[in-house]
């Protein structure tokens, strides 16, 4: 067999083996997106040292010793690797390369209206966009009232009381090259939104290539050090750890150590899960803000679009990503105002769906705001709604009254629970029995309830043939005690 045939064959095998061994490279979007002439990519920048090692204490031992074993090892290894590399080299021959030059800075500049920012660690693209006060905002267009709302929300959710200017409350969202985390996922675009006197402003920090990350981080360090409160959506698990990791990769201090973080994911779920199920930011934007994005890029496409840009300078997808990021941040800010309005503000409750109202009631109760929760629950009952929710609201309300020791009101609600729906009937019955036995001393009424409960359990058992004994023996025990008490008191009455 001729040499060239053999090499051809090796190439084939390796490709075939590879299709089994490795996942296929992600979509080859670069082919379609780029029309630029072929040039070599990002040549040596000025900051090739960003990962320079901190000198080790001991000199590296490897390769230094001329001990027989290690030099023999080195020689063997070199031999072997050279051989394999030879194969690799052949492999590469005849393959089309899809590297295209980068779009010039100026083009990007004019395309996106950004500016090239210089830092001690190099340059990057910085974009700002101002949304004037008549934008999508529906109500309340005073930065001062927004600020107060957010700060009250911070206090409610974190228990910390702080004061700061509106410009120190930052709404943050990142676009990344991977969703699984780890040191190899980059935040290539970081957007920060703040309220200002004229409206809402979004700043975006974008690395046009991987060698600009240092500059972005450097600039972010400065920007974020001015931030007191950072608001995100799922930032606790995703955006902030990832950003922090990027800071570590550049050996820079994390500027948000003392900042307060408000992750809106959790409150949003508490408020809207009942009604919406899907509590992603996109869905909340549609359902809660009532906003439809005219054109948007699907989140899962974002890493690939960025890779295409970096490799081939395809900037079309990029515009969409910038817009997407800005919109996410505006939605985040708007959502924050709505959440705050519901939980700590005086936004009118009539506009809320009854499910949301109930969600808020429960959430407030869990946050220890009983009085507010009480009001919300009462309103849920007034407005009616689903049976199950009604009884839950009754229960919620009753338990607040119970904990506030306004027992007579709780008892009325338990009574209502028993007639409203079979859910929690047993629970209400028990609470009432306790109430009559121990608080009002109405033993006969208590006994009636107990008898009733026992009857129900027995029927249930017969019908369902289930072994679920309920808590029958507890009820029987209670009955015995009540009977005993009653007979004793009647004896007493007789004597």
């Amino acid at each position: 067999m001729k040499m060239i045939d053999r090499l051809q064959r090796q190439l084939e095998i390796h490709r075939r083996n590879q299709s089994r061994t490795f996942e296929a490279p992600e979509s080859d979007g670069a082919h379609t997106l780029s029309l630029c002439p072929e040039t070599e990519l990002g040549e040596e920048g000025t900051r090739a040292d960003s990962f320079a090692p901190f000198g080790g204490e001991r000199a590296r031992r490897a390769g230094e010793g001329d001990n027989q074993i290690s030099s023999q090892l080195q020689a063997d290894a070199r031999q072997a690797i050279l051989h394999q590399l030879e194969r690799l080299r052949r492999l590469r021959e005849g393959r089309s390369r899809n590297f295209r030059g980068q779009v010039s800075d100026r083009q990007l500049h004019s395309d996106f209206g950004g500016e090239i920012r210089m830092t001690t660690a190099g340059s990057f693209l910085y974009l700002t966009e101002l949304y004037e006060r008549s934008g999508i905002q529906l109500n309340g267009d005073d930065p001062e009232s927004d600020r107060q709302l957010v700060l009250s929300l911070v206090q409610l959710l974190s228990g910390k009381q702080i004061e700061c200017e509106p410009s120190r409350i930052a709404f943050l969202d990142t676009e990344t090259t991977g969703l699984s985390g780890g040191a190899g996922a980059y935040a290539f675009l970081v957007g920060i939104g703040t309220w200002c006197s004229s409206g809402f402003i979004v700043e975006q920090f974008f690395m046009r290539n991987f060698d600009e990350e240092g500059a972005v981080i450097c600039s972010l360090e400065e920007r974020l050090s001015q931030v007191k409160v950072v608001v995100t959506f799922n930032g606790k698990c995703f955006d902030l750890p990832l950003l922090e990791s990027r800071f570590i990769m550049h050996r820079r201090d994390w500027p948000l150590v003392d900042g307060i973080h408000l992750d809106l994911l959790h409150p949003s779920r508490r408020l809207w899960k009942l009604r919406l199920k899907d509590c992603s930011l996109a869905n909340l934007e549609r359902q809660v803000l009532g906003f439809e994005r005219a054109e948007d890029v699907a989140g899962y496409l974002i890493p690939q679009l960025y890779f295409n840009y970096v490799r081939a300078g395809a900037s079309t997808g990029l515009k969409a990503i910038f817009r997407h990021n800005r919109q996410d941040i505006r939605t985040l800010a708007e959502l924050t105002r709505i959440v705050a309005g519901i939980l700590v503000g005086c936004s009118s409750r009539e506009e809320l769906a009854v499910e949301d109202l109930f969600g808020a009631a429960r959430y407030l109760a869990s946050l220890g705001r009983r009085q507010q929760s009480l009001q919300f629950s009462e309103e849920v009952l007034e407005r009616g709604g689903l049976e199950s929710m009604k009884v839950e609201a009754l229960r919620q309300l009753a338990s607040i009254h119970e904990s506030q020791k306004t027992y007579y009101r709780a008892a009325a609600l338990w009574q209502k629970m028993m007639t409203t729906s079979p859910f929690f009937q047993a629970e209400a019955c028990e609470k009432l029995a306790i109430h009559y036995e121990h608080r009002t001393g109405d033993l006969v009424k208590a006994l009636e309830l107990v008898e009733d409960a026992i009857r129900r359990i027995q029927i249930e058992r017969n019908v369902q043939k289930s072994s679920r004994s309920g808590r029958l023996h507890q009820w029987l025990h209670r009955r015995a005690r009540l009977q005993h008490k009653i007979s004793r008191s009647s004896n007493y009455a007789q004597t």
């Binding site: 090796q10 490279p25 290690s70 690799l88």
Partner: protein
């Protein structure tokens, strides 16, 4: 052997073992089965003082544990470590190896509070065990030293604390690979202050696993360099031929060897036991499982604490049942016998270990799970059901009996495989110097590419950077073509959404595998089969054996990598017939010796599974066959091969069929011996035989079918290929080439000393597959080329 009815009341133990071994030797039935008894006299301990430069608190700590002086090897190793050297400590089981690393580690944590150490153990169970020992030491010290295990079982909420605070993190290579290195930014404190990396059970890192580990360590060192630390390595290994070489290949630095054992050794008897031949014609011996039972009972009935090792989970369970039954028939409680293997729950394992230490359990039947250093105290007897496959692990197993004091016995019961037969019939080989080598090939292209991905994910590569001893440029350019990396500003960055470590298993070359789905009831996955063996074990209509149960393969979904099986009860199993074509791409070295040529180099293999045979259990009759159409598999790998010249073949006074049978028999026996010398698994190397002349004459490559079907299939100049069964090779071929003479000599000894007449499974392969006279042909060929 008669069942003995004895109680636990015993004479002083010092007398027991020699007497019982004598009894065993004289026992009528057993006498002829004992092929060898090796007596090792006791040896005094050699002590040394704690080296200078240790913190007084450390000495005090060990004094509290009753350790006033060290064994000489411990002192030597600690001294070298304190002097900043990497060390590898190679001494037998129970010689106090853990102290070699716990002393310097505790010393540095006590003197510099920020110091961190990383312990790597090959299994989770071992990590847990060592953790326990270290924890006790720390408790005793009364100091706030945090030691943690970090593995797949570590709860999520505990992980954060471990990352920030753990002084000593005990984990395994797999976890380091997927859980720690890719998330190094969460481990800043560890990597900034990492002073020692401990690699225990170093000998387990050979072949594929070791090749991966080298790359994981390359990644570890990159990350350490980034954070400004430069850890030292402390390695411990069981006895192998090349510990220093293996250690320096793994860590790619110079290593000091410490191999003079200062620990005392008690008297020891090592008995080789070969079950009697019951059918001389077919070379069939009595079942080794049953014989193991008899031997173990011989000791158990005399009240001696005994560990029995089996080579599979199935045999372990079988022996547990046998021994429990036997004990129940005597006056002893069956609860005195326990099993121990992977799959038992951790709590149960702890309970068994404790029972053994406290003497509440008389006998334990274990897999290799108990072979490594888990503390089970001092046992008196170790019985091995079958040879473990390597001398090193056999010594480990034998070493579980008689730690330090008192005398002990070890008995190896051979099964009928060539390897076992060779060992029991050639004790001088076993007891001579350990010839086994731990071999690795970290630069295997597939392994290397995978770790390059992980490495670039963890930290961008500088343009001039090296990865271990590998130049990075070409490989990174290759990955760039595939869209995995991108160069910017003189650095290579990861440009893929994936988390690469998840796709790489350290225990295999390719991460591709088939899942076996049991659809008898609700579908459930019962096992995974790696790609190369999938086509021969889970092809359609195959009987797949798993945990002693039989499954019929209904469907093999090639694209989805899935086999659907249904549980059945058949009296046969299947054996795939595959044809292999070999093409020599390049011979790196060749040497002619007499009328044979030894070679090693690169080959191209095309394998196709074309059918299968149905074979009846027990009788091994061929009861049917079937055709299969499966895709061809190609592999490019390294191989050793032996060419038998035409002139030599022509001199053999036998017909073509016998010649072919002889060549195949020789190949079979050589492969068994190669496994022995390479210290690898049988599945790591494969065999192919083909005619040299057919290829040279320019025709398509002839293959030789597994059975001789027609006289037209005549070989003129055969090549016997023993190749690395992994894409691009795992580094076994060149060593095999270098060991050529030794392998052939021992092959000749194996075949010559086998008592069978015409070949048997214990030497040149089962009779069904070879022609009469094959054995004579094999011996003839060997005498002509040696």
């Amino acid at each position: 052997m008669a069942e003995h009815r004895l109680t636990l009341a015993q004479p002083p133990k010092a007398l027991t073992i020699p007497r019982i071994v004598e009894e065993l030797k004289k026992h009528g039935d057993l006498q002829e089965c004992i092929t060898h008894v090796e007596y090792t006299p006791a040896k005094e301990a050699q002590f040394a003082d704690f080296p200078e430069g240790l913190d007084p608190a450390v000495r005090q700590l060990f004094r509290q544990r009753g350790i006033e002086r060290l064994y000489s090897h411990q002192a030597q190793s600690i001294q070298q470590t304190l002097a900043g050297k990497n060390v590898v400590v190679v001494t037998p089981t129970a010689s106090g190896k853990t102290l070699c690393y716990n002393v310097p580690v505790l010393n540095s944590v006590l003197t510099e509070r920020d110091t961190r150490a990383l312990y790597l153990f090959p299994t989770k169970a071992l990590a847990q065990d060592q953790m326990e020992e270290l924890y006790q030491l720390v408790q005793l010290s009364g100091k706030d030293i945090k030691t943690f295990t970090y593995d797949g079982d570590t709860p999520q909420d505990a992980r954060r604390a471990i990352r920030a605070q753990g002084h000593v993190v005990v984990t395994n290579p797999d976890m380091l690979h997927t859980g720690i290195l890719p998330h190094h930014t969460k481990w800043v404190q560890l990597f900034e202050n990492l002073k020692y990396v401990v690699i225990d059970e170093l000998h387990t890192y050979r072949g594929v696993f070791g090749s991966h580990l080298t790359n994981v360590l390359r990644r570890l060192k990159r990350v350490c360099t980034f954070y400004g630390s430069d850890p030292q390595f402390i390695c411990c290994s069981a006895t192998i031929a090349n510990p220093q070489d293996l250690a320096s290949r793994l860590i790619e630095e110079e290593v000091e060897l410490i191999n003079e054992n200062g620990a005392p050794r008690a008297e020891k008897y090592f008995v080789f036991y070969n079950p009697p031949v019951v059918n001389k014609q077919l070379g069939i011996r009595r079942s080794y499982v049953n014989e193991t039972r008899l031997v173990a009972l011989h000791f158990l009935h005399r009240g001696l604490q005994t560990i029995v090792f089996a080579n599979s989970r199935l045999i372990t369970e079988v022996l547990v049942t046998y021994l429990k039954d036997a004990l129940e028939k005597s006056v002893l409680s069956k609860d005195l016998i326990r099993g121990y293997r992977g799959g038992y729950l951790p709590l149960e394992r702890r309970e068994i270990e404790k029972g053994l230490r406290e003497g509440k359990i008389l006998g334990v039947v274990a897999t290799n799970a108990l072979e490594l250093g888990i503390d089970i105290g001092t046992l008196e007897v170790s019985v091995m059901a079958g040879y473990s496959g390597s001398i090193a692990s056999t010594w480990q197993r034998a070493g579980r009996a008689g730690r330090r004091a008192g005398n002990s016995a070890a008995v190896l019961v051979a099964n009928s495989s060539p390897l076992d037969q060779f060992i029991v019939q050639h004790p001088e080989y076993f007891f001579g110097q350990s010839p086994e080598h731990g071999l690795i090939n970290p630069n295997n292209l597939d392994i290397l590419l995978n770790h390059f991905k992980c490495a670039v994910f963890e930290l961008p590569f500088r343009r001039d950077e090296k990865f271990g001893n590998v130049e990075t440029d070409e490989i990174l350019r290759f990955l760039e073509e595939q869209g995995f990396v991108h160069q910017a500003g003189g650095q290579w960055h990861w440009t893929n959404e994936a988390y690469p470590a998840d796709a790489v298993s350290l225990r295999s070359v390719s991460s591709d595998n088939f899942v076996v789905l049991d659809i008898t009831n609700d579908p459930r996955i019962i096992s995974k089969v790696d790609f190369p063996s999938a086509l021969t074990t889970v092809h359609e209509k195959a009987i797949y054996l798993h945990e002693g149960r039989q499954y019929f393969v209904e469907r093999l979904d090639y694209a989805q990598r899935r086999a659907e099986v249904r549980q059945v009860d058949t009296d046969y199993f299947t054996d795939a017939i595959s044809y292999t074509k070999v093409q020599i791409l390049e011979a790196f070295e060749s040497q002619t010796q007499k009328q044979a040529v030894k070679n090693h180099g690169e080959i191209h293999l095309t394998t196709q599974v074309v059918g299968f045979k149905k074979i009846k259990f027990y009788t091994m009759e061929n009861v049917g066959a079937g055709d299969l159409e499966l895709p061809e598999q190609e592999m490019h790998t390294t191989s050793y091969w032996l060419t038998l010249r035409k002139a030599l073949m022509d001199r053999l006074p036998y017909g073509p069929a016998a010649r072919l049978g002889g060549v195949r028999g020789l190949a079979h026996a050589m492969r068994q011996m190669a496994v022995l010398f390479l210290m690898c698994d049988l599945r790591d190397i494969q065999l192919a035989v083909e005619d040299n002349l057919g290829r040279e004459s320019g025709e398509s490559v002839d293959r030789i079918p597994p059975t001789v079907q027609s006289p037209s299939e005549i070989i003129h100049e055969p090549n016997i290929f023993i190749y690395d069964n992994y894409p691009s090779g795992i580094g076994l071929s060149q060593p095999l080439y270098d060991m050529h003479d030794q392998v052939l000599q021992e092959t000749a000894r194996l075949v010559r000393s086998c008592p069978c007449k015409e070949g048997c499974p214990s030497c040149i392969g089962p009779k069904a597959e070879v022609e009469d006279f094959s054995k004579q042909v094999v011996l003839e060929i060997l005498s002509l080329i040696l």
